[in-house]
Symmetry: C2
């Protein structure tokens, strides 16, 4: 990413002299969203602004210990004197992704759009968008250097949280040499790698352990162990279902995994994960949901059993055609 | 670590001209041991030697896909023509740690000792020992640079396996800036970070998922949620008990965790893990076991219930004195 001098200058001017600047991110924020918002706020403070971080939703529990998280306001409870004429929006592909928080902007507000999503629609007056970055945190780190700001330990913690989680703890294919070297720089600057990782991945409510026990005991394997299914009844819902469906995909030999969970509104939520050439986004879309190629989901009326009987034949067919007998052009 | 020119020269000379060099590591090898042995063998090949990797024990299943692992011989089945006059021993604090493999050495064999353990007793003619290194893999990486060898993708995979696992996936306090920058270099050199991480952490036998379900369902919390206990009956033993006891320690608020497992020889194996100031090595030692401050264990006669009743009061007392009422000098 090369930053234009004009864009950097506009950011400096906008932030100077104690200007009130809104910082926000997408609804249902993940650690890259929260960490990047907090990092952006600190960078704005260094530039002279008075930033306010306001999100549509509550900060998830695993982000509550990030430095500065206590200063985040939730939209419904946020008191604002007047609308904001400037905002830094991080990790959001479009302005609609910040939810009702956009009601806090003046019609002509200057928007700085900092993001790494392929789907980003360039909604800002200034668009710092780099799809080569693994995380928005990585974008902010590059911007911080460009602006010659100080990498404080608090900034380092918030940026590390984003890098860690958007790369799946340095596991996904977006774990580039640059990502790891930046992580090294963050630790050198004082990031608390043990505390941040523990907070993101090792702070499980005890009720979740009991629920995971009950859910793991429901394991079904199909199609010669290529498909794994887990089932969660209402009394076994866990705070972080991603961990559970990731475990289902982690089974030796499994190519596609599904977690079927009862929901309070009476539907079954299906979370899909895949390895290799199985595109679960397409399956989820065909059933009214959506997502990414390797992680997608949908909701469907029925019981755990009826939804299983609806989904399993589709997964079987997918494994038969994509894994067991790959098409000629894929072989 | 600074390597002496004389030591480096001795290594070059020893390895030159097709010399047969033994490579080995400690019994019950972990990924840093196996990855480092394989990396050392490739480095010796680049220097002109014909290395043989011979270990006392089987390669653990999570290391079987490391590049070159198929060439590792197990001592009991290894055919050797004559004893080895030179050996590179990695990740072993003393020569006794390689088990019966030491029977394959001539009495005057030149030993190269490459390790990062504090307990290393400098058993080699050459001792490349640096306790500041997070992993023996890190030592080998520094040595590789010093020798100007080629960092092939296979070497990069083996070194990454060691760095990853000895830092707990870049989580423990030994995750220095250098570790992460070296990991970046390894990925740049072609290490397959997704495959290696999946092989180390996400290749779980399906029977283990069902067993983990049964074990998680036994969770007990004591002393206001500071102590967590899990119980594994013989029919619920898992291939990798470390994962299970780590989960017990990952529960919000828990300071000390124990997994009590039945064993085939009729004893109870107790695995202890701790956070903060609780020293589980001392507890394990007082009961006939051993280990590190944060991870230790022992075996005891009895049933799951009688051993629980023996251990729990000790853990309660530890939490009472160390966590609830820290001594004056620790406050």
């Amino acid at each position: 990413m090369t930053f234009s001098r004009a864009d950097l200058e506009l950011l400096r001017q906008t932030a100077s002299g104690g200007a009130c600047v809104l910082v926000s991110t997408h609804i249902h924020p993940d650690p890259d969203a929260v960490g990047s918002a907090l990092a952006a706020a600190e960078m704005l403070s260094q530039l002279g602004a008075r930033p306010r971080v306001i999100l549509e939703d509550e900060v998830p529990s695993r982000c509550k210990n990030l430095p500065g998280a206590e200063r985040i306001d939730v939209y419904a409870a946020a008191k604002t004197e007047s609308p904001f004429a400037a905002a830094v929006i991080v990790d959001a592909g479009s302005l609609s992704r910040i939810g009702d928080v956009r009601n806090l902007l003046t019609p002509d507000a200057i928007l700085f759009n900092i993001d790494h999503h392929v789907s980003n629609d360039r909604f800002g007056a200034v668009n710092f968008v780099d799809v080569e970055c693994a995380a928005t945190a990585e974008m902010l780190f590059l911007l911080l250097r460009e602006l010659n700001l100080i990498l404080t330990p608090g900034l380092a913690d918030n940026l590390l949280a984003g890098l860690l989680t958007d790369t799946g703890r340095f596991r996904y294919s977006n774990t580039t040499p640059r990502v790891l070297r930046l992580a090294g720089d963050l630790i050198e600057a004082g990031a608390h790698v043990t505390d941040i990782t523990n907070g993101m991945y090792y702070d499980i409510p005890s009720a979740d352990i009991l629920s995971m026990g009950a859910v793991y005991s429901t394991l079904e394997l199909h199609q010669n162990g290529r498909i794994s299914l887990l089932f969660a009844r209402l009394d076994h819902l866990v705070e972080d279902p991603d961990t559970v469906v990731d475990i289902a995909l982690s089974i030796r030999g499994v190519c596609v995994a599904a977690l079927l969970s009862e929901t309070r509104e009476g539907k079954i939520r299906v979370s899909l994960r895949s390895k290799h050439s199985i595109n679960v986004a397409r399956i989820a879309e065909s059933l009214g949901g959506g997502g990414h190629e390797r992680a997608a989901g949908f909701r469907m009326k029925g019981t755990l059993e009826t939804v299983r009987d609806r989904v399993l034949p589709i997964l079987r067919e997918e494994v038969r055609t994509k894994i067991d007998k790959p098409a000629f052009e894929e072989a």
